[in-house]
Symmetry: C2
Subunit: 392 residues, 2 copies
């Protein structure tokens, strides 16, 4: 199978001096593991380049001038398609067992951006789809995503989702698990109706990879020694794989050639990685002083995301006791999150995370090379920029 | 969709005097709701027939002479096929994320009978399959079943499964949920490889119906007023549907004609109903004094199964307080299960449940009419008899 089975173990990593070179996902990255201590946090020089081709993540020295981007163009272009997809979603989550549509509706109509089905539609249109045959695949993609969210919220005992009380707190964890299963089954029914075994294969494999990524996160998430490459592997599996599959399935549905199908998959994968990295940075306030409404969740859960891992590595022994108490043992006071956030900002960990997201967004845009230059492609370029520039 | 959506609501039920006529699943049943009180339990006359076509469930007046049946003939015939299926199962539950194969193996190799994949294989061979192309579907059926068991055990907080400590008690509920999701995804990958969109459709729809049945059970299971038709709808959805789909998918895989495909589906559906009814009777000791190893689980969980529902109806006001305490409020002493078991035996509730199971087993055998008379068919007839005669 494609996915975690490839390149996950053994990890391609070489520790040379104070940097880790990660050859992963087709990118060579150099992430600075240590950083000059004390006040030098603010002005510290970045690590030396390991080799000519490697990128250095050192946001402190980098002038950040990124295109703002927007999702509006895509939403506008896809509005007629999305009306069809939304009607399918509403129809297929029905059941004579009343709890099922009630619970599903609570989450599905809570105002998510529906980026994944948008990606399927945009990919199909950009690949030349002239009819609505890809709507069913787009609805299936949203059902897979919804099922994943329902199970995630049970597993993480989350209190909120999309600004509303999490479904399992209203209907109970058993119902959330089972309605997730129901939506997953309905997704496969929709895919069968769409009639493409190739698209089915792509989304079935993606579903397996997502579960693998979730299990990996579960068993490693609170590990202060989590390597950055395992972190990247987790976000690739749990987030980017569905973006990749959504885009690839759209292209397949439109009958795209092999190279265009690969192009759309690459766009989706890199976009998904950028989105997740930015999510993880925003959880510590991102590059601004403004905190999003869910900021601090990862810290409270002791989740080892990249901003945290970089800050831990860069603060070194000076803060070992702080990280072990707050993340390792999850003993936290109200002031601890603010302190963690300050350390993440001062060490440039948040900025480095956003820089890496910007790199992936650039890769996403570059992947669109083989596609026609039209409004859909422009909208996808804007979406990649939006993934990095967004503030919430 | 086929399934709960059809015929579930509104319920086709007419209450006439002291019996309920249930027109359901193509059978007209008359289940006696009340029963002569006191000592007359043991010798009470059954209710009058509602109409000529209806069957009367009154085991007290029925001489039980049932063929013993066996699963051995099927296991023997299918041994080479099952070796192939077992190899697929072992290969496809692997993952570089070590928790996944460890958890999956704990359940998969705990010694289940693998009836469902056996059913797919037998159905395919009986329908004329000459190669091994149905092995992947059979493995997929077992993965769907395993995924369901993993989620069920989390939902019911079960302590034991197949005589071993339940997986969620070893690896935690989150891992059990996610490994269930993983196996479900792997099932669909296998189905894609099998290459039949029709078989995929059958098993995707069945997966949805199973989840619906589980949610219905969750919301109604402790309801002392659960009607017998809703009970039958629950066991049809949560158990019999996968038996039906397993058998139908095997026939489809072998390229069977429409009437043979329907025949195998009907065989599977009726067999599944018989199996679940016998399971529910065995939980109260069945027709014997011997208690199986899991006996009493349903009572402790306050699960409204047919033996209990019949006993509640037949004991009437004399035992209302007992049932409301032990099932309604689940306040139970050690002696209560023995008392419930005695009431279920004395009212003929257990025997009536087994009689109904025998009716379904008869329907299953009759359904094989359009199929060739050969060793596979004989083995399936024996399996239907075994479903009712087994003592564990």
């Amino acid at each position: 199978m494609r996915g975690l089975a490839q390149g996950y173990a053994p990890v391609q990593q070489s520790i040379l001096g104070n940097v880790v070179t990660v050859s992963h996902l087709g990118l060579a990255l150099v992430l600075p593991l240590t950083y000059p201590a004390g006040d030098a946090f603010r002005n510290g020089a970045g690590p030396e380049l390991e080799d000519e081709g490697a990128r250095v993540l050192d946001a402190v020295n980098t002038a950040v001038t990124r295109p703002a981007g927007s999702v509006d163009g895509l939403v506008e272009l896809a509005s007629a398609d999305m009306a069809g997809v939304n009607a399918l979603i509403a129809a297929r989550m029905q059941s004579p067992v009343a709890v099922i549509p009630a619970l599903a509706d609570h989450l599905i109509n809570a105002g998510g951006k529906r980026l994944r089905p948008l990606l399927t539609l945009a990919s199909a249109r950009l690949a030349g789809a002239t009819d609505d045959s890809c709507h069913k695949l787009a609805a299936a993609v949203e059902f897979i995503h919804t099922a994943t969210l329902l199970h995630d919220d049970v597993i993480d005992s989350s209190q909120l989702r999309r600004g509303k009380v999490a479904a399992h707190l209203i209907w109970g964890a058993p119902s959330s698990v089972l309605v997730g299963d129901y939506l997953f089954a309905r997704a496969f029914e929709l895919m069968v109706e769409a009639g493409s075994l190739v698209a089915l294969d792509i989304l079935a494999k993606a579903s397996g990879v997502i579960s693998e990524g979730e299990v990996l996160q579960l068993t490693r998430a609170h590990d202060l020694n989590l390597s950055q490459d395992v972190y990247l592997e987790i976000i690739r599996a749990k987030t980017a794989e569905l973006f990749a599959a959504a885009a690839e399935a759209g292209a397949v549905c439109a009958g795209a050639s092999e190279d265009r199908r690969r192009a759309m998959r690459s766009y989706g994968l890199n976009l998904g990685l950028a989105f997740q990295l930015v999510d993880d940075a925003l959880d510590y306030g991102g590059a601004t002083e403004d905190l999003g409404k869910n900021a601090g969740d990862d810290f409270r859960e002791g989740k080892a995301t990249l901003p945290l891992l970089l800050a831990i590595a860069r603060t070194g022994e000076a803060e070992t006791a702080f990280w072990e108490r707050t993340i390792g043992r999850r003993e936290q006071t109200d002031a601890d999150f603010r302190r963690a956030r300050d350390l993440i900002a001062q060490t440039g960990a948040a900025a480095s995370t956003l820089d890496l997201a910007a790199d992936f967004a650039r890769e996403a845009k570059a992947a669109l090379g083989p596609m026609d230059a039209n409004g859909w492609r422009t909208a996808l370029v804007d979406l990649a920029d939006f993934a990095v520039s967004r503030r919430a």
